[in-house]
Point group: D3
Chain length 159, copies 6
């Protein structure tokens, strides 16, 4: 069985992420969407909330699983018999950072392969942080994130 | 009447900014130089001081106005009947970020156009932060910023 | 009156070109779409055919004119009292070449300004040469070029 | 069964190509290495010679097949029930061209996915044309291409 | 006598840094490796510890000296009769930042020259911060930094 | 004695080339400007004419020599006891090609070092081909190439 991991912060998951999840799910027997525990940042959503939102928006894709991890991705990959790391590429600046990460992950674990998929043109300007920035000033984020995420963001703010 | 906005932090305004202001003022009936209120940073100058410096160094260009804004640029544009956003491009890294912003602003407001002007070769290495860095260690910033800005920076430090 | 020129080969005009023409026509009193006579290439369409196609697809934009030129753009600009050169940017590789051209044009004629507009995300992969390549092998180019252009390309091939 | 295609000119196949072939063969049930018939270029090897060399150097990888194609890759993909196109990325300039191609191929055939793999650091400076250039002036190409290719290149020259 | 400076944070020195030090030592009569005092960051090693590690790993290169500096590099260069600044380039993003710095340093001191050397392909993914990240989660950093640095990092952690 | 080579086509030498020659002559005991014999192109000037022009415009720099070569640069370097190859960098696209070349040259000859110098901001848009293009249409090239080169280009055209 070929298992891939799609790692990220997903704070929150955008339609660009969802596009990569859907397309990668056709290439592998199983795709694990893995939320990174990142102690050094102050995210909008907790890891549990992020996993819950990811479960909701991927509920119609049978071979997608949601998980979380901390530490090195190379270790997570080894423990879960994962053969591929999936990353989305939007721009040249992504490209260089991800190339560096891919080469480091191959050094740490030569059996794992990083594969890159191009983000659809319509999502090339999308990032979780730009979504949060627009939302903070009451800009419309309809079409940028799944509707479930808009609801969750509104609840967060009203707390 | 065609109105453009040239938004930025201007902390402080450099000769590179001034070059873009002068050149864009020939393309539009009015150019509004809009200082962004940015709560999350600790600038050298207050918004009022930045606006005052901008007024001084653009006093000889009749169709330039100085203003400030907070929140989304797309909202500011709509409220002020602005048809174009002017941005200066220096390098590839600018290019990708600005492309992302231009596409997001078009999504939020399809009637506004972002236009880019190339920074003159002689100013391609100039940024407000590099000016502050050089000044901090008593390096010469003559020719990098207008003389009024050098005076204002010296006063700041002597306080 | 503010006049801009949008120069190019237009062999053939694509929907990406048309997007830039429409958007720039809102920024200027008049936009001249200028077809370059390029002796060293073997184009699909003649300059006259290109101009005819451009006239057809821009017939609903009153302030657009179609023209052709040979020699230096800087000379054409001076002779036609043009204040701005409009260029579309798609990618980093465009960016560097166009920056070089913009700086050279400013050297040759300091009064003319080159402004850049970002190509819409949906057209970022479009170029005249890729359209011709796809068409040559009977691939579908619907949506990539105006319908008038598809008809003209079919006629060319049947000759 | 998941089938991928790795298309290219392979004039000649380099160790960088071979690295991508080996690594992609672990991700898919079958990888078809497809040599492009390119009428407009004057290659060193014929398509048959290229296919023969590819067969020799991949003989130890059971799920690799060698084929050739002409026309649109999107058509070849459809006729051969291929689900993925594999491309190697070496540098930023590759990235932009390949992104354009990937988006065009998705437009022509939404069911096919282009995935990118990073070329190993040690092969990042390798290309078929640089190998031919070095060989032409009697430079050592040992380690850049498989030994079978060196032999074949020597035979070509001695003809 | 031609003296060059190779400035940096070296927190810690990697095998990529060491590669540049060795190669630049062949081009100049003396190479000063200069550790930057950077008040605004919280480094792993103190400036003294960094200098000590650099001394250990360069002990076999007679024309290398270790020093530290604060303030402007352009001033340090002038005070030490240095004719060249050596920088390593790994990627496009390095390139633009370093170009900006090189142009600013030439403005501040027209007699000093910045020269760039390409980092070996095998070290192109190496940076001090990625080494610290991998080490933090007990990943293997053997081969990425000199062995003396691994020992020093282990001691730091055990404190 | 430290000898460097600055290789190129120099068809014709521009002020950008001359800037690199002057600056590199301060770093090395001798700089050889080496004109490449390139059989596959149709240059404006012959190799002899290029060498003659280079001699004229560098006559005031005592440690510069003019030469020509064909074949592999790595071979020329070895035969002439050269320790460094000097290249000028203008832009990101230069950077990637030159990185590829530098890594290949190190593979062919591990003892030779390629060093890069940044082209001055004012020459960043300059290339031999853009100079020829502007000259062809009677545009002013004063300030872009040495005056000796303008004279030689005028003579060429009048033949």
């Amino acid at each position: 069985m070929r298992i891939a991991v799609y790692p990220g912060s997903f704070d929150p998951v955008t339609n660009g992420h969802l596009d990569i999840i859907k397309r990668s799910s056709r290439l592998f027997d199983k795709v694990i969407v893995a939320v990174l525990h990142n102690a050094s940042k102050t995210p909008l959503f907790t890891v549990e909330e992020k996993m819950d939102l990811l479960s909701q928006v991927t509920s119609d894709i049978p071979n997608v699983e949601i998980d979380s991890f901390s530490g090195l991705l190379a270790d997570y990959v080894m423990e879960n018999k994962i053969s591929s790391i999936v990353k989305g590429l939007r721009a040249v600046s992504d490209f260089e950072y991800e190339l560096q990460m891919a080469l480091m992950n191959r050094k740490l674990n030569p059996d794992v392969e990083t594969i890159f998929m191009m983000t659809s043109g319509e999502y090339s300007y999308l990032s979780s942080s730009i979504v949060k920035e627009v939302f903070k000033f009451n800009g419309c984020i309809k079409g940028l994130v799944p509707d479930e995420v808009i609801d969750a963001m509104k609840k967060k703010v009203s707390l």
